[in-house]
């Protein structure tokens, strides 16, 4: 369960030097190794040989220089909430844990940006921003680290309005495989000065470099916010209301689909008391007038497609409860089958194909022995399944994998992508050639160029490692 045997001498030599560098911040304790052997999803755990806890960019640079000299793999680790096995050190070596690099270095209120270390979590950042009236928008379900979110090109419920990590990372500091430190981008809002290295590292899943600092966009907290839930008789009705909303240009801040099965789970897990029907959860941001106008407009669209029980959550605590429930969707899903594990997958399609993609997915599920709640950031054409399996039953795991594969293949056939926000990691690697064709060869060439020894998160994203 650790690195390849032929590498063990190199690994040992690296670990000795790392231990000299980091002292007790290089750990080989059994519980620490276990904690860094897996993420939140269904991929088989693999222990690293050691876990490094650097406290500065300079230390990360030294760690990489040592590992590079000894051909020892390095896999970055935030809080381990990835869903496609990104943090699993499948070739052993060092798990580079960023939890001690967790400071907010600067908040530039006037420029609406912040500079943070990679181990800062999104909730921590928003907590530190609270007094400023500003917010960081990207919100995957988990309280992930900023470094991990950038590496995965994460998004969440309000990407439809504020964008994903792609749009919200302005600049990075990155340590390359050989220990060189580079800075990409600047605090200027736009630039035409050369290749967009920032965007190259965002979404590269720790395979091209280790992110040691991020400059991210902030937004003013909206003057007025209102949230709503709306039930639909059919999932098609809900999706059609979403499509009309997006096409009309209504600037919804959040528009989330939850199928009847997910609602059932949320009723169980979060005591929501909602009718067991497909729902949309929405949020509107703007001025008092603007928010009211948006809500009224949406109400008209929903009514066209059989929406009912359009309920408001105007009090902050009610809104918080609603979105906490939404963010806990994964845990709620698991409540539907006690002891089950959620085999999680996500895809994203052009919104014109969304209703069809969801209907065919639901048909796949109906024909399967397994069940899976469906939720989605549907304003972007992105939806997720948590296929409920008994983790000890290989047949169920195989069936879940078959369903997830069909969903991914269908997304490609519809001009979409096999992952809207969870990333490639181990789980989606097999689709990369089908999605990208010859461009996947180019990705492999870039990987070879920036990490010629294949030491950064080996086995992920690029097939040949």
């Amino acid at each position: 369960m650790s690195g390849k045997p032929e590498d063990s001498v190199g690994h040992s030599a690296a670990l000795a030097q790392l231990s000299a560098l980091l002292g007790d911040r290089l750990s080989t304790g059994s519980s620490i190794l276990d904690q860094h052997a897996s993420d939140e999803a269904h991929h088989a755990p693999v222990r690293p040989d050691a876990v490094a806890f650097p406290e500065s960019t300079d230390e990360v640079s030294q760690v990489l220089a040592i590992c590079s000299a000894h051909k020892c793999p390095v896999t970055a680790f935030g809080v381990g909430t990835s869903l496609e096995g990104h943090v699993i050190p499948v070739q052993g070596g060092v798990s580079l844990d960023t939890s001690r690099m967790n400071r907010v270095l600067a908040v530039n209120e006037a420029d609406l940006d912040a500079v943070v270390q990679p181990g800062v979590t999104r909730k921590q950042l928003n907590e530190e921003l609270r007094a400023t009236g500003l917010m960081f928008s990207v919100d995957p379900g988990a309280d992930a680290t900023m470094g991990g979110m950038a590496a995965t090109r994460a998004s969440g419920t309000n990407a439809v309005r504020y964008g994903t990590m792609r749009e919200n990372v302005l600049a990075l500091e990155v340590v390359l495989a050989d220990g060189r430190i580079i800075r990409t981008g600047s605090r200027a809002r736009k630039s035409s000065a050369g290749y967009d290295l920032t965007k190259l590292f965002v979404g590269s899943e720790g395979t091209l470099g280790i992110i040691t600092e991020l400059t991210v966009r902030l937004y003013g907290q909206p003057e007025a916010v209102s949230a709503a839930t709306c039930a639909f008789e059919t999932i098609e009705g809900a999706v059609d209301a979403v499509i009309l909303t997006i096409q009309s240009g209504l600037p919804v801040a959040r528009i989330e689909l939850l199928d009847e099965f997910q609602i059932k789970g949320m009723n169980l897990y979060s005591d929501m008391g909602l009718p067991e029907k497909p729902h949309l959860f929405l949020e509107f941001h703007g001025t008092e007038t603007g928010v009211a106008e948006q809500a009224e407009r949406f109400g008209e669209f929903a009514a066209e497609y059989g929406g009912s029980g359009f309920e408001w959550a105007t009090r902050t605590e009610d809104r918080n409860r609603l979105w906490a429930a939404r963010h806990n969707a994964y845990y709620a899903a698991k409540a539907l089958r006690p002891g089950a594990e959620g085999y999680v997958t996500d895809v994203c399609v052009p919104i014109s194909r969304l209703a069809e993609a969801i209907a065919e997915t639901k048909a796949d599920l109906a024909a399967s022995s397994l069940s899976a709640p469906l939720v989605g950031h549907v304003g972007d054409g992105n939806f997720h399944l948590s296929i409920l399996i008994d983790p000890s039953d290989p047949a169920e795991r195989k069936e879940a994998s078959r369903i997830a594969d069909r969903v991914a293949e269908r997304a490609l056939a519809m001009g979409g992508t096999v992952t809207g926000e969870h990333g490639v990691g181990l789980g989606k690697k097999k689709f990369m050639r089908a999605e990208h064709g010859e461009a996947y060869t180019v990705m492999a060439t870039l990987k070879q160029t920036l990490d010629p020894q294949g030491l950064l998160n080996p086995g992920k994203l690029i097939e040949r490692n």
Copy 2:
């Protein structure tokens, strides 16, 4: 004035094969060569050996394969409106003109995207979109091609609301130096599936590949639009009003600064009849109510900083006249000194430094023998100078270059970038190391990887070519 002598045998062999491929769509006519020897700015012209007019991706692929086999440089050419010498074939070889690849291939109204060939111009696209109620947002001054705009990472007046080409190109088809054709991205609105090659090619100025197809975002034409002009006693007052507007989160669609000298030029060139004071030109997009609310809010901000004569242009023809005048700012600048050429430069700084950057720039100009109107997409922190010089006077050119250098160096010192939207080309290459440090080495490495013979737009962006 053509390619390096030592390459001429290879170039000749390439041209013979290209002639066999393209027939009379490979031109060596003198006027055609001259037309492809320069762009709109001040860099010295260099003729290509020939101009190729491919009509398909497959032909572009064959052109590149032939040129690659014979080590013949290839420089892409749209309509020649670049401002930093991007299209000048400084090492001779082939100018690859995309004007015959000018079809809008698809408009997906439901998905708010369009697929276009690189030779489509922005006005042509918007003309073809007119009946759909959709629009393409990015609007540099010139009626540039979509391929050129993507290659330069162009933006324009409404980037503050709708983003630059970085945000608005969803997917590309690119022909690599060796003739391989790749597709990057998809029509999905977001993806976490691998390295963001789309963003790597956007802004790469034809040095990594030739863009042969673009999928771009569209927006619904806003329900209501209103434009306004507002005069200020001082440029600081105007900039402070901008800063407050942006920091407050007011979703202005356009907020353009024009100094008193630029206004004078516009009065001359476009008969605007405006008071010769610094102005902001604004546009608000939204619902009728929303637009009124935004305008009212802006009026309050402007009043705080001495704004006066807040005038509305509600009729479409008045708005069009206003923005036509703004887009013709470069020509208006030249009207201030008949026979002069505009030595054009642009930078972008964090908005908190904008007032300071502009004040120091104006001080530089006051201390110089030259004058230059200043305009800016100031909502992004981006501003431009057109330094008026006698093109036949080397001393004036040198002085303009000195001023432009100071502006660029100041932008870097303020945490900004040496070019917000004009690109690197020939003119800003010398600042790349200062702006990017070791990351510039990484850019050079990527260039070497994707174009090992250095044939794609050699001499641009990357220093060592």
